[in-house]
Symmetry: none
Subunit: 456 residues, 2 copies
Amino acid sequence: MQEILSYIDKNKDRYESELKEFLSIPSISTAPENVADVRRCAAWVRDELKRIGMKQAQIFETAGHPVVYAEHMEAGGNAQTVLFYGHYDVQPVDPLHLWDAPPFEPTVRGENIYARGSADDKGQVFLNLKALEAHLKLNGTLPVNVKVMIEGEEEIGSPNLETFLEEHREFLKCDTVLVSDTPMYGYDTPSLCYGLRGLCYIELEVTGPNRDLHSGSYGGVVVNPINALAHMISKLKDEQGNILIDGFYDKILPEDKRERAELSKLPFDETSYKKDLNVNALVGEAGYSNVERLSMRPTLDVNGIWGGFMGDGAKTVLPSVAHAKISMRLVPDQTPQEIAKLFTKFIEKITPPGVRVKITELHGGPPAVTPIDSAGVRAASRALKQVFGKEPLLTREGGSIPIVEQFKRILHAPTVLMGFTLPDQNAHSPNEKLNLPHFHKGIKTSAIFFAEMAKE
Amino acid sequence: MQEILSYIDKNKDRYESELKEFLSIPSISTAPENVADVRRCAAWVRDELKRIGMKQAQIFETAGHPVVYAEHMEAGGNAQTVLFYGHYDVQPVDPLHLWDAPPFEPTVRGENIYARGSADDKGQVFLNLKALEAHLKLNGTLPVNVKVMIEGEEEIGSPNLETFLEEHREFLKCDTVLVSDTPMYGYDTPSLCYGLRGLCYIELEVTGPNRDLHSGSYGGVVVNPINALAHMISKLKDEQGNILIDGFYDKILPEDKRERAELSKLPFDETSYKKDLNVNALVGEAGYSNVERLSMRPTLDVNGIWGGFMGDGAKTVLPSVAHAKISMRLVPDQTPQEIAKLFTKFIEKITPPGVRVKITELHGGPPAVTPIDSAGVRAASRALKQVFGKEPLLTREGGSIPIVEQFKRILHAPTVLMGFTLPDQNAHSPNEKLNLPHFHKGIKTSAIFFAEMAKE
């Protein structure tokens, strides 16, 4: 292993210049004008997989952007099989004027490389490929069987990946999925994410009178749909953060004391957190810490609201319709389907006389939690400890990565979320960056991870 | 008088084609892009006043849109002086897609002419000008002294009119003010409005975190400004229609039994009212009839709300800011100044931790009630009876015409509110319309009104 780590140290500069090439391709999956760039990026990844010595490197067409696949299956039938998943597509770059340097001209400043995709997810895809390369260059083979699947639609919600997994279910068979698409907990705080919240996202339309009315002439007897919507929203969650929808908490698994103990190890500096956001208070569900409220507890947020007159000045309208987009983050064993039903039933119960409601389910995904004692989590923990010198903290993420649930459901494989970026990486924002010392440590950690997987 | 009425009948078609010209000018006072149109409309009114034979027709500049003035003062020093007030500006037209025909291309369908401003207030301004024209064309003079003042900022709250009245206090001196900017009670129910609600219109901005956040990563501890705004709105008025702002009702005058008896004569068909608006219930303040809730009692309505993601689909944002426009209708002796203070104090009291609020007073006007036994009310009652064949009902309007209070306070003149549109006129809404038979009856009524004023 020492030989591999030395090799990685020696090739530091080459890794950076190759990464710049990868980052310079504007593979924005949502932008029609970048379709050719996305395809060019897929070809670049395929060629890179060939260069590092992976086999069967090829592009699979989908109904949208292609999936790149390669494998190296020479570790034998008894060895573990790891499927490494990542994505080569990136978020749009607007607002462009807030970038200090062009987003597709990777620039190194201080410890960081700045470019769209540097953190999310090209940099993290690339460091795993460099780990595989180190094994292959020095040993001609890998410690375990490895499949690599890099998609091009993660930033638009992976609309074709579930079908791809189902169609290639046998072919993608594996024991563990490795994903590097989450940040570490802090600069000197290696962490492994083992849980993700699910999502139930709903649009609510409240209709009062059949047309916009003059608020002077009708106000006083006609129920205003905005006022009604505000009353309804105020009944969904109280001001302390407790969700009031009947049955909402019923399916949540009993609390795991060991898990709460693990989460309590995570540092959370409330003062600097509030300062960063410029808020005078944090408010959440009673009986839980901030870390728990952000990860192992469900939430409800209004993501958007609109109705009536939104222009400058004063228009005295009593509007016909008001809208809200409302989403709930879910934890095991809540399901988006069941939560949508409870939400609908509750809304029907609290809809006041004088208005009608229409509920549209926009999208959802179940929560996913990987067992702490799975092979992948154990191997990744050992690898992180060797490189960062500390036992990694076990974290749960507040957001959703729907494919983690799909890997579990379709491939029956648990997912290890081993990420190397930092919380201030500006993913999805201007000046996205990747910390280069962490990038190099990530290559080493990944190389050790594959070796440790051979011991499982 | 018969000669004048015949003349009005004969000129029916001409009136309609001239009105169309007036209605085709998009004089939207709140829209910066229509400033030139508003000015063009003022010039049109000035030229029309010249055409019909009024004297001194001219445009007065203000800090905003101009006021058009003309007069005809040949009835002598002992005759009554009537100041006719109206406005040539109109409301915005959005949502444009709900209009059956372009709002500034007046279209006749059935008994109605459809256009923005047809009812509020160009059509009603125009019918009074046609009444003056009939007198002037046939008699070369008017039965009383008449001043005409048509402003261009009524729909944005007449911000410069009070100054104008104060500066020209002597010059605008009169015995009675005539305003035609209210609807009649029903198609066959002539009415005279003697009371108007006041208005206090406020914009509320609620700020949570200093930037839009990912609702998955931050949801659970960061207070969502939309949820907070909904909670605050739900505390302003309960679902029964009672306003909960501390001290809100304190300054309301004790109820007048005679007035409640008058109002109880007004027909109100709840079934057809609900059917017209397609609502399953009317809801309002306990202890008051629907007519009272619509006129002699105050209200609170959210006129607009916006924040977060309002596009198609699902964006999981925990937004930084949410906004609402909230207005309150006032009755004597509430004042907009005092109500704005109470509102601000109450909002400060109910602002939850984790968000900050900013309150902007957009516009306001005090309520106003005119004595039932004034000369103008008597003359108008006789005129309405002659044309519509019935004694007019005495009503109070739910809307606000702040200048009525200013006429009383600055010019010491009572205002007669003699309106000819119908309750389904869609003022401030798409497909605003004016009933043409009422428009013609209105011209006759106005002509008789000026003659009857000579008898007072």
